[in-house]
């Protein structure tokens, strides 16, 4: 056969890494990053705070305050790295697990909790944060992202053909199997749309390991559609930042889409409803614990004198404060009014729905003081 022997590519997966699990800076021929100490510390702070939000939310679910929670544990670097690569005018299409990206887009964690508590279906204004609502149906958002990017194109680029912003679509390893995701690759490449496909390959789609979705590294999917794919160490916030920055810049320049595969690991359960002991060995986690996305940054900061105990304590204190905000804010989230379920079905309401609402209002009123 003339093409496509997968073994060749698999033998040398090019994993972009700029910070080793031990916290050593690593050089890469194509990607580099130069951060000020403040920027470095800011990333650390993001990672810690994002993890703290997640831990609190998991606890709140256990206490019955949330119906369910999808933890990002282990994926902080992929999310903070890519999230901090975004320029203000870039637009984000998340899945349901991008709490770290939401953080980078200034979405109050309470909005996320509202969704998982069931007091709303999202609720924040996507346009206020350039951060779309969570999308639960696997893969759908990749097409929205591509269409949004086509919209940016249609508004016209600068004289050099560049666009004021790019789009980033998040999805998981499992999602790569969905027709919609592959259609979005077709569209993005045919229209050369300014979109970055950011796949967090956390190795699992609920109980199914990545082998059930692909027999070659996922970043290579892009080859089949004629645009670049790159695999980055998803537990390395520097590499994620550098690679996503480059991909977004490329998109804004008018050079089209890129697929970024952030190679990481889902350290927790799929959601709080899941029991991973049924399908994976606890020992698998051990090797990934050694690659923790936060520890390596901390090691680097400390070893290079960029962070002292005061700084670390301050971040800790900030995390505690944030945790309190999340806890108390969550408990205080008001339940929606029953009749509010009739709101916003349409922009322009209908007599049919008005009638249903009125009848239900009358019905509800019949209980006041009765039964």
């Amino acid at each position: 056969m003339s093409d496509g022997d997968p073994s060749v590519a698999e033998a040398h997966p090019e994993l972009v890494q700029l910070l080793s699990p031990e916290g050593e800076r690593v050089a890469h021929p194509h990607y580099s990053i130069d951060l000020t100490p403040d920027e470095f510390r800011a990333l650390y702070r993001d990672l810690v705070l994002v993890r703290r939000i997640d831990i609190e939310a998991t606890a709140l679910q256990r206490q019955g305050e949330l119906g369910i929670w999808a933890s990002l544990l282990g994926q902080e670097a992929a999310q903070v790295g890519s999230g901090r690569a975004l320029a203000p005018d870039d637009f984000v299409f998340p899945t349901y697990r991008e709490h770290g990206v939401a953080w980078c887009r200034d979405v109050d964690p309470l909005w996320l909790l509202g969704l998982f508590r069931g007091v709303n279906l999202g609720g924040w204004d996507p346009n206020a944060h350039n951060f779309n609502l969570y999308t639960i149906v696997i893969g759908s958002q990749t097409l929205h992202a591509t269409g949004y990017a086509m919209g940016i194109q249609r508004e016209g680029g600068g004289p050099d053909g560049s666009y004021p912003g790019a789009v980033i679509a998040y999805f998981g390893d499992g999602a790569s199997s969905q027709g919609d995701v592959n259609e979005s690759f077709v569209w993005a490449s045919v229209f050369n749309a300014p979109v970055v496909f950011f796949c967090q390959n956390n190795q699992w789609a609920i109980s199914e390991p990545i082998e059930k979705q692909s027999r070659i590294p996922l970043y290579q999917r892009a080859r089949g559609f004629g645009f670049p794919g790159v695999r980055v160490d998803g537990n390395d916030v520097l590499a994620c930042l550098a690679v996503t920055r480059a991909a977004l810049a490329r998109a804004r320049e008018g050079s089209g889409p890129t697929l970024v595969e952030a190679y990481t690991y889902r350290m927790g359960a799929h959601t709080t409803s899941d029991d991973p002991t049924r399908y994976r060995l606890a020992s698998d986690l051990e090797s990934w614990k050694l690659k923790d996305p936060i520890e390596r940054v901390k090691a680097y900061l400390v070893r290079n004198g960029l962070a002292d105990a005061d700084f670390l304590d301050a971040v800790q204190a900030e995390a505690d404060e944030l945790a309190a905000h999340v806890r108390e804010g969550c408990r205080a989230l008001p339940d929606p009014e029953p009749l509010s379920m009739f709101d916003d079905v349409y922009v322009e309401g209908t007599p049919h729905l008005d009638r249903q609402r009125e009848e239900f209002a009358t019905y509800l009123a019949s209980f006041e003081g009765a039964r």
Partner: protein, 324 residues
């Protein structure tokens, strides 16, 4: 006043909408140079360019999914689905996304997307080219569904749905594309969500939409010759239904026949029958009767004339209604 086919009226309506609002974009398979397989978008790419009349890759989920993204960026996409039977690959994007984003976002995001679907049979086509999938969409909260039946409605309704901030599934009766009628483009259009009495009558109300309006009118002419007066209503809006107009008529005639090409089972006719019976229970002299496609897949075209409701089957139902 000039004479337009329905196809040409839709084409003109799209053109007006594109002229009026630069955010209106057309997308679909073959909508560009070819002007669509039914030529509804004829000439538009030439005049508005490839960025506004977009020949898309061959994938309906992609068409609707990217239209949603375009709408989020402020565009007003008008998607063409080439034939009724090819809308199903886009069903997930329509039902779980298009229909729900406004609700999900508590009103923050509007998706003014129109999905145009040439629908119905009677053109001797092969499988999947003659379907009537409107019930699937009418059952889906968050969508609005309309069907045009003539050139005037084609011209105005397509502009009205494009102007609407809600997502609309817009059905076009493909076998009526080439029917001609006078069209006054300067007239004031009827409101979008209203049914229209297209022929007043006193004995039985016949509810129809899309391709069946003409059939119902033919039945009414034939019935008149036999001394039976049918009131024919073109529903126009399938979701929401204009129940005020329907009930006004049925409360007068006390009898009702619903006609559609789609299968009967859990179709629009069922909903109309249920609501009319609920809201006019004491008035009805007969149950609401349905004249529809049968509960089989759409058959080979050489028997489609038997599958589809026609003048005789409408009259048969009218007779049965009057016999109650």
């Amino acid at each position: 006043m000039a004479t337009y086919t329905l196809a040409k009226a839709l084409n003109e309506g799209l053109r007006r909408a594109m002229e009026r609002d630069p955010k209106v974009v057309i997308m679909g398979e073959d909508v560009g140079k070819l002007g669509g397989v039914f030529r509804i978008t004829d000439g538009l790419q030439k005049d508005f360019g490839e960025d506004r009349v977009i020949d898309t890759p061959l994938a309906e989920s992609g068409i609707v999914g990217t239209a949603i993204g375009l709408a989020m960026r402020g565009f007003r996409p008008v998607c063409e689905i080439q034939f009724d039977g090819f809308v199903y690959p886009a069903f997930d994007q329509i039902v779980s996304q298009l229909a729900k984003v406004h609700y999900r976002s508590a009103g923050a995001v509007r998706l003014p997307v129109v999905i145009r679907i040439p629908f119905g049979g009677g053109i001797g086509a092969v499988e999947h080219h003659s379907e009537s999938p409107e019930a699937y969409f009418a059952h889906t909260a968050g969508l609005k569904v309309v069907a045009c039946s003539n050139a005037t409605d084609g011209y105005f309704m397509i502009q009205q749905v494009i102007a609407s901030d809600d997502p609309v599934i817009f059905f076009e009766p493909k076998r009526r594309y080439w029917e001609k009628a006078e069209l006054d483009t300067t007239a004031t259009p009827d409101p979008l969500w209203q049914a229209r009495v297209v022929r007043p009558g006193t004995d039985v109300t016949v509810l129809a939409y899309g391709p069946m309006v003409k059939t119902a009118l033919e039945a009414a002419s034939a019935a008149a010759a036999d001394g039976v007066s049918l009131e024919v209503i073109d529903l126009r809006a399938l979701s929401p239904l204009d129940m005020a107009a329907v009930l006004e008529s049925v409360n007068r005639t006390r009898r009702c026949v619903v006609v559609h090409e789609a299968p009967a089972n859990v179709g629009l006719g069922a909903e109309l029958a249920a609501r009319i019976t609920e809201q006019a229970f004491y008035t009805l002299e007969a149950p609401v009767l349905r004249v529809t496609g049968f509960d089989t897949p759409y058959p080979a075209s050489r028997v489609e004339e038997d599958y589809l409701p026609d003048l005789d089957r409408v009259l048969d139902a009218v007779d049965r209604s009057l016999a109650f």
